[in-house]
Symmetry: C2
Subunit: 357 residues, 2 copies
Amino acid sequence: KNYKITLLPGDGIGPEIMKVAVAVLQAIAPKYDITFAFETALVGGAAIDATGHPLPDATLQLCQNSDAVLLAAVGGEKWDTMPSNLRPEQALLGLRGGMGLFANLRPAQILPQLIDASTLKREVVEGVDILVVRELTGGIYFGKPKGIVADENGVRRGFNTMVYTEPEIDRIARVGFEAAQKRRGSVCSVDKSNVLEVSQLWRERVTSIASDYADVKLSHMYVDNAAMQIIRNPKQFDVILTSNLFGDILSDAAAMLTGSIGMLPSASLGEAGKPGLFEPVHGSAPDIAGKDLANPLAQVLSAAMMLRYAFNEGEAANAIEAAVNKVLDAGKRTGDIMADGCERLGCIAMGEALLAA
Amino acid sequence: KNYKITLLPGDGIGPEIMKVAVAVLQAIAPKYDITFAFETALVGGAAIDATGHPLPDATLQLCQNSDAVLLAAVGGEKWDTMPSNLRPEQALLGLRGGMGLFANLRPAQILPQLIDASTLKREVVEGVDILVVRELTGGIYFGKPKGIVADENGVRRGFNTMVYTEPEIDRIARVGFEAAQKRRGSVCSVDKSNVLEVSQLWRERVTSIASDYADVKLSHMYVDNAAMQIIRNPKQFDVILTSNLFGDILSDAAAMLTGSIGMLPSASLGEAGKPGLFEPVHGSAPDIAGKDLANPLAQVLSAAMMLRYAFNEGEAANAIEAAVNKVLDAGKRTGDIMADGCERLGCIAMGEALLAA
Ligand SMILES: CC(C)[C@H](C(=O)O)[C@@H](O)C(=O)O
Ligand SMILES: CC(C)[C@H](C(=O)O)[C@@H](O)C(=O)O
């Protein structure tokens, strides 16, 4: 089996951590009788510098024609003064829209080795294992009309539209319920249906789709309460199913429970048979870029997620995750997850430790 | 000085905690040479039961014609099956819109006596003192167009509009900057300007208004990052200035840092000279209603906020806050904030302890 993978290293620490992930994939390949054909493309600030656009057509086409995309991170101060439609982050929206990546899976799992990195008390976060299923190509991120317009007196108003159709809700709901079937069997759908019509339709459709998944327990929660409950008692959650904007906010809050977002991978998936995109939750960390200080583990775990979700190579994915665990058990840490009594490694040395493991 | 106050006890524990707040106000009045004229009106589920509508015209008019409004809480399972435009919560939106309450001030302050109630580590939350300034009559809560419509094939779409005009942004920004001047002098404006046009206008106007407040330090943060930072390092925040929906979510997250939302008051203010509305952050807690178990302290602290913000009676407000502190120092607690070695009181006994203090 040969898999065609587009690599998008992007900006900041992106290239360093991507190098580690590729080395790990290459090391694992022969053991599972698979081969990878890697192609690297420009994205984000690096693409702006080279072509003037954060997501060149050539990049999007390459992604659409590959079996999966592995992205590192985009953005940095250097491009913060660009007009907003030409910022590095626009590449993410362009990839999501252009590849039809409507389902974003963001796990927030407390690793026992890193539990002290959390700002929450041990007893509150121990065992937390949340999967946020975020709708990624609809809602207020893509809704129209939108813009900034002036009235007859020159007074401006800015506006965006939060919108969902029934089919958009139905398909992400199915992703949520199916994920729950493979986990602990419960879905908490988060909306703001006490105020928003779009949320009323959301709640109605999610409730209706639930009848196809009798083995899954469905509950509903308002988004403000969900933000509280993630802090008050995060163990109550299995799958959180929610819209694009709410998922953006809540997945970051859930990720921060772990205290180590340098460890968290994510998957963005489209229709069956279409390529998915895999990337760490953290950003491009321009302040530490090129200094061999970055934590490559979220990138490596994103590669494992790719093996599992895109290629159904669950054993190869397990092997990578086991290597990460082994390295952590041995007390090896990058600076961001450093703790008393552990050994501090740079990005390159962490990669070597993974290969050895 | 005589102040005309409309009392809106509402549902659940509302009437019990309101009784305590009124008793405290009456006890304090002669000491500061003030008198109160209280009138009680129907709101929420109680109003639905009596009149069929959660916010009867008579209630809104009474509120508009008083010097301030003290609200307890609305809602309960009993009314959850009502059509959404007739639910108890609609009364809140009706009061905010009808009274022009565009500025919502939600303090989240860690009380030293209750620090162990937080799910976060002591060193993370010790000294946290955040004021969320939330815009309350604009944004996606009130934006039009909105609705649920079907296309020619009967496929429905739900939509809402997130919209701000320049004057709406300017006036809430001023509230934020002025609050910061009386606090620690810094404002963090939260938006999603990397994706939303409405946020781009928000950021532009807030930045422009900041030039009138040279003594205040302004920073900007994306809402997803803000949700993370509230968990990662809440001490970095003084005033968080944000829109209606983001403020709904972030103020609840910030409140939960304290671990004791039964303690948190809030103020909703309109144009100068118009009556404000004061209410606890917590809900109507129907499960414990009528059992003398409720914590009246947030309601009492809301009354103190009313004295300070609506009537400029800072000393009387201080006296109430001092009494609350004294009672907590003496180890008196309601069930929700109970801790080892403390004395558990019911709602009525807590009220008596306050009067004694
Ligand atoms: C960079 C930004 C456009 C993006 C988003 O809001 O979706 C990011 O925050 C994320 O969550 O992937
Ligand atoms: C009940 C609801 C309409 C309300 C809101 O969303 O504003 C509440 O959550 C609040 O924050 O006061």
